[in-house]
């Protein structure tokens, strides 16, 4: 494995949907990739900046609503919509990060929770724009222009989302091995020391926050086009918690961690579907147990069992997921 692990993983991910024609399975794969994209972007905040954000689902929701509202009123091509979703979610990220990042620790977590709730509340009550709790339905499929290259099947969305996941994962990898990435890690580990070395800590954090929120916006736009319906529920506390769970259970500060976390989330919820309402109780219990007994996430098990052999695919691990 070693340094070829990422290539093997991507190859497997490309082949995976071809193994079956079961559309339900394809649907689960799309969900996995969408959540992977979100978890990876949240991981930038939790793993690299070192702060816990409870507002991430709101940026996902902003992206979804931007795509839905633009699709309803204009005939913009899908590509432009994705860019606008990223820009608008990123702009909100800038405004919110600018206020919230002045505070660190538990207060930051609560603040982002507050901001997430503001956006949720506004979405729920601004009926003229968002149709309130009813949500927006009949969103057009993602296309280059009009009906040209319109994506309809789950398999198509899987590959588009996979492309974004791979691109973003590579961007994270490249960032973390660059000078800027080391500045991020220095900021996370010891902010006063980092600023004494001439790193602008606040700017560093704001940059990470804006990138993370913009990517979450893209995820939201993809989600809206794929499911063709959005409701304010995508920003509810349940989703915010779910995203954090994926990053933490998978392993924060790593690239494989959030992707594994998303797989566990999607897989577990489907596997437990048979037990009905009990499944969320089981899920919450598993979360709590994994937080208490496995604070480094699933990825840390690999390290525990195989020692050094995992160094190559996860360079961001350095400094540890404390």
């Amino acid at each position: 494995m070693g340094r070829y692990f990422p290539l093997v993983a991507v190859a497997v991910a490309i082949v995976l949907p071809l193994l079956t024609t079961n559309t339900y399975f394809h649907h689960l794969l799309v969900l996995w990739m969408l959540f992977s994209l979100l978890a990876l972007s949240l991981n930038v905040i939790i793993g690299y900046i070192g702060e816990l954000s409870f507002g991430h689902a709101a940026f996902f929701g902003i992206g979804a609503y931007v795509a839905a509202i633009l699709g309803m009123h204009t005939g913009l091509p899908g590509v432009v919509e994705l860019i606008l979703a990223a820009v608008i979610a990123g702009a909100f990220g800038f405004a919110i990060g600018y206020v919230a990042l002045r505070i660190v620790g538990p207060q930051f977590a609560i603040l982002t929770l507050g901001f997430g709730s503001i956006i949720y509340t506004i979405t729920n009550y601004w009926v003229d724009l968002t149709r309130g709790p009813m949500g927006i339905s009949n969103i057009q499929p993602l296309s280059v222009s009009g009906d040209f290259l319109a994506l309809t099947g789950a398999r198509g969305y899987y590959y588009v989302t996979l492309f974004f996941v791979v691109a973003f994962a590579y961007a994270c990898y490249a960032l973390m091995s660059s000078r800027t990435g080391r500045a991020f890690i220095a900021t996370r580990e010891n902010a006063p020391l980092a600023s004494s070395l001439g790193i602008d800590v606040f700017r560093m954090k704001l940059l990470g926050f804006v990138v993370a929120t913009a990517v979450a916006g893209v995820g939201g736009a993809l989600y809206a086009h794929y499911l063709t319906v959005v409701t304010p529920d995508v920003m509810s506390l349940q989703y915010m918690a779910a995203l954090i769970i994926m990053v933490i259970v998978g392993g924060r500060g790593t690239i494989a961690g959030p992707i594994i976390g998303a797989l566990i989330y999607v897989g577990l919820l489907e596997a437990l579907r048979a037990v009905g309402p009990m499944r969320l109780v089981i899920f919450a219990a598993l979360l709590t147990l994994s937080v208490i007994f496995l604070p480094g996430g699933i990825v840390s098990l690999w390290k525990r069992w195989f020692g050094e052999s995992e160094a190559a695919p996860r360079p961001a691990e350095e400094g540890g997921a404390s």
Binding site: I118, L287, I292
Partner: protein, 291 residues
């Protein structure tokens, strides 16, 4: 502007504010003494309301006894929550503790939905339908009860923390846990007492507010959000901050709901936070680590 309507809105706001104060005081107590953000705090509020409902229904108690039983019952659950979810993690990173409490919150909400059912329930109270008239102001007895009990409990809490031995132990722990332990303070006991007080306060709020609104298992996430707004506004860990922040939020929401729109009132709490934080990032009475 009609002064009677204004006075009515102010009164309603103060009563709502008092429930926020009760919720936020427990939250701020746990943070101030133990430096724990308890996400599951709202769930104890929810349990307080449901325990009152079931104590009245299954045990056949009257409202007051049911509320007392519920409050004590949830306070005892606080011991359990501390023992299982907080005490074992006291040396871990603050994220771990925060996430553990998030897990507890999800567990209690979903467990509550499983046990109690998702459909809303009403807590019966003999005070809910009777009104008190002061001049042209009309207030239900239940609301007078909320405000009165809230005020009395807060005074008792203040005296407890200020003058009893256990209160002094709590204050010592808040200042410096290691130092307190060195001088013979039983930290484990302080953890237990703090959670018993916090959960009891949340449950009391639930038992009092139950008769004025529908109760359902997800009501806890609403309560904890209000609690967080109040503590951010007043300053995390500050009890005077919780008192003033809670009353302020109640009054502002009531005025915004009465004069602007109900939907807007929901968002205004958050808008206040942003304004306060731009000006004073540590809250009105608190201290915060700044980036």
């Amino acid at each position: 502007m009609d002064t009677v309507v204004l006075a009515q809105q102010l009164t309603n706001g103060l009563v709502n504010g008092m429930t926020y104060v009760l919720i936020a005081t427990g939250l701020t107590l746990v943070f101030g003494v133990l430096h724990i953000i308890n996400f599951a705090h709202g769930e104890f509020y929810m349990l307080g309301a449901f325990f009152t409902y079931f104590a009245a229904k299954l045990l056949g108690l009257d409202y007051i006894s049911a509320a007392v039983v519920a409050t004590l019952g949830v306070a005892v659950l606080g011991i359990l929550a501390n023992r299982l979810f907080f005490w074992p993690l006291r040396r871990e990173h603050e994220f771990t503790v925060l996430l553990s409490s998030l897990g507890l919150a999800l567990l209690l909400t979903n467990g509550g939905e499983l046990l109690f059912g998702a459909d809303p329930k009403y807590v019966n109270s003999p005070f809910a339908d009777n009104v008190v008239e002061v001049g042209q102001l009309v207030v239900t007895q239940q609301r007078v009860l909320i405000f009165g009990v809230g005020a009395v409990v807060l005074v008792l809490l203040y005296l407890f923390i200020k003058h009893t031995r256990v209160g002094k132990m709590m204050r010592a722990t808040a200042q410096n846990p290691e130092g307190a332990a060195l001088t013979g303070v039983n930290i484990r006991f302080v953890y237990t007492v703090t959670f018993v007080l916090a959960c009891g306060l949340a449950a009391l709020a639930g038992a009092l507010v139950g008769p004025t609104a529908m109760i359902f298992p997800t009501v806890g996430s609403w309560a904890v959000l209000k609690g967080f707004i109040v503590v951010i506004l007043g300053g995390l860990g500050s009890i005077p901050g919780a008192l003033i922040g809670g009353l302020l939020l109640g009054v502002v929401e009531s005025l915004a709901g009465g004069y602007i729109s109900l939907g807007f009132a929901q968002a205004i709490g958050y808008a206040i936070i942003i304004g306060v934080l731009l000006w004073r990032p540590q809250g009105l009475f608190g201290t915060a680590r700044r980036a």
